[in-house]
Symmetry: C2
Subunit: 387 residues, 2 copies
């Protein structure tokens, strides 16, 4: 929830107002699926200042429902900061006094970068279902092209949580020379059958919504709102731990007493419906489909005999892997698989399993032990830069 009292002016902890930027790319991008994007636009934000050596740049990769607006505010009246404001800003783990932070909206997104709701130059209509499925590999490629334009030869670090962490991992494999650190938070080396199963139900809810119109709903006056709400509600359950939900809602009733019907009885129902409803106002259903498939398809070992160790042997950076005890979407065991492969590949890796009740969403929050460890690791990177 946003805090209306939050300061939007730059301060010891806040970046203040930030302005998104857009970059058009004319060079076609060949995607993993075999299709080509003839041209595209990437929207991004930057926080902090690039040093003359261009050695302090950090790339932030976003998760399923994220976008470029990771920190700060979009206006002085803006009540809601970027999605990772807890971790990005002056004197925060990703310290804007030290780092030049680049945060982009991934291709296929719905917040400005080219995606399903963008105009297809071939048809002059929205791409809709014709927008090709992009993967983490494609994102890394598009992010590398933006880095070229920004003249960033090597990231001090590529950082992300969840699907963002997967991109940080993919970077280390695909562009070993172009990053010094990979910070992989609350991620997994590949989705489990259960992860895919949840995604499939979310997609089915959207695809079977009569307002979906085969993905061509932009040409109608409606959109698959119910399907998108269902998808988000389901996702939301997997972001919270059982413990966190119990703590937050227990079995509290909305009306104080049972009504014995199928309307909302319990606070947790009310909360989930509200979250789904709000999400549906700001997210595109075709992008939701695409992002869940990008998760399903994430498989960095695929090109290396399905051997994660072999894949990670290519890496030249150092790694920080973090997980959260109550995360059941990507449990600590999944992070440990990454760590084990890194050790087997003889890479330098730090690993922290944070004991906290908040579940998968922990990576977005200011949890003291997490913040402290994250800060310490990033401080180490800062020291390397200043040496």
């Amino acid at each position: 929830m946003s805090d209306p009292k939050k300061p939007v002016a730059p301060s010891e902890q806040e970046i203040g107002v930030v302005v998104p930027q857009a970059q058009h790319f004319d060079t076609p991008l060949l995607l993993q699926c075999g299709k080509t994007l003839p041209e595209y636009e990437i929207v991004y934000e930057t926080y902090g200042t690039l040093n003359p050596e261009k050695s302090n740049a950090v790339l932030i990769c976003h998760a399923l429902s994220g976008h470029h607006h990771a920190a700060g505010y979009h206006s002085v009246d803006d009540k809601r900061p970027g999605w990772w404001n807890a971790c990005i800003g002056p004197n925060k783990p990703l310290d804007t006094n030290t780092f030049f932070i680049v945060s982009i909206n991934n291709l296929g997104g719905c917040h400005g970068s080219t995606g399903p709701k963008s105009l297809n130059p071939e048809t002059q209509k929205a791409y809709g279902p014709d927008f090709p499925i992009v993967t983490s590999k494609d994102w890394v490629e598009s992010q590398a092209r933006l880095a070229d334009l920004l003249e960033i030869k090597q990231w001090a670090a590529v950082v992300g949580g969840s699907l963002g962490g997967m991109q940080a991992l993919q970077w280390a494999i695909d562009y070993p020379e172009r990053l010094r650190h990979s910070v992989v938070i609350a991620a997994a080396p590949i989705l489990s059958a259960q992860n895919i199963a949840f995604n499939e139900i979310a997609r089915k809810a959207i695809l079977s919504d009569p307002e979906f119109h085969g993905g061509h709903y932009y040409e109608t006056d409606s959109f698959p709102k119910t399907g998108l709400i269902l998808a988000r509600m389901l996702g939301h359950i997997t972001y919270l731990s059982d413990e966190a939900m119990r703590e937050k809602f227990g079995r509290e009733l909305r009306a104080g007493e049972l009504k014995f019907d199928y309307d909302i009885e319990f606070q947790v129902e009310s909360y989930l419906n509200y979250q789904g409803e709000e999400f549906s106002k700001n997210f595109d259903a075709n992008t939701y489909l695409l992002m869940t498939r990008a998760l399903d398809y994430f498989d960095p070992a695929a090109e290396y005999n399905n051997d994660l160790t072999q894949a990670l042997s290519r890496a030249k950076c150092r790694f920080m892997v973090m997980s959260f005890t109550t995360d059941w979407r990507f449990s600590p065991e999944r992070s440990q698989e990454i760590v084990d492969a890194l050790i087997e590949a003889d890479k330098e890796v730090s690993y922290a399993e944070i004991d906290c009740p908040q579940g998968h969403d922990s990576f977005l929050l200011d949890i003291p032990r997490y913040t402290a460890l994250f800060t310490a690791y990033m401080d180490g990177i800062a020291q390397e830069i200043n040496q």
Copy 2:
């Protein structure tokens, strides 16, 4: 999956063909929600023979999607046995050589007992959404009335898994004199916020299906199939452990290679869709809504100052509580809450936590350690009867 080679003739392990029975009740039933069912029918099956002392009767309570057909076959050509055939039959834990087993379809169900698709005598149309929400307390009451008619004053045991286990617990509180043992398997003393959240999404999928027609779909030529499929797919994920899904499907592709679209790519998607589709052919959406609400509302401590120990202090029976290590729907911790309250209430309780990978569905399966412990406990009851 059914095994077409399974014997349907009575044997050392199989009951053979069973015939459901129906019992009409004219006495109105006042429900927990405050409404009254003026008359109703209960469909049930029995396995084994009631002894002259009527002391060997065991009541089976079913879970969300269960019904009266718990064991045996409905015809010699029947390829699929009842849902708990693994545990009911000659020389099985619920041994039909010893016990007279009664298995009923709960009120509100869709397999013969009065429920939403039954005729409302007041309107001469299907009840549909006007069928009142029934709870575990109501089921216990209706089950007690059937016991009266069968002249069973006291059950040797009331037994159930999941929502069935909750009814076994409710029996011990509501009719302490009428059972000697309560066998509570893979259950919880009350639903968690996460449990309710999953139910809410399942209900929303059904309620928002355009074919739901406010629950009056019986009068149309369709039904909320997609919503029911989504609900079942979601439920199904919670019945299996992450481990079991990984073991069963991994990330195996249906077509051998990625197609990069939103059709079914992975075996786990195919399986879930198939399960949902099959389920939708044999289950009623209004009943699904009702059963999930009965779960949400289960709260045996509510009448006793929200104190489970106080509630269970009323009990006079002995208890067997069983849980499964990989059950994340109702985890072992939830069973332990029941056990702790029973100990605090100074009741006699045996508890077994079975280490197995199958998740919540374990209670339906022939898992050697589970079967052995279940058999041992039921053998003890048999010895009491024969004394």
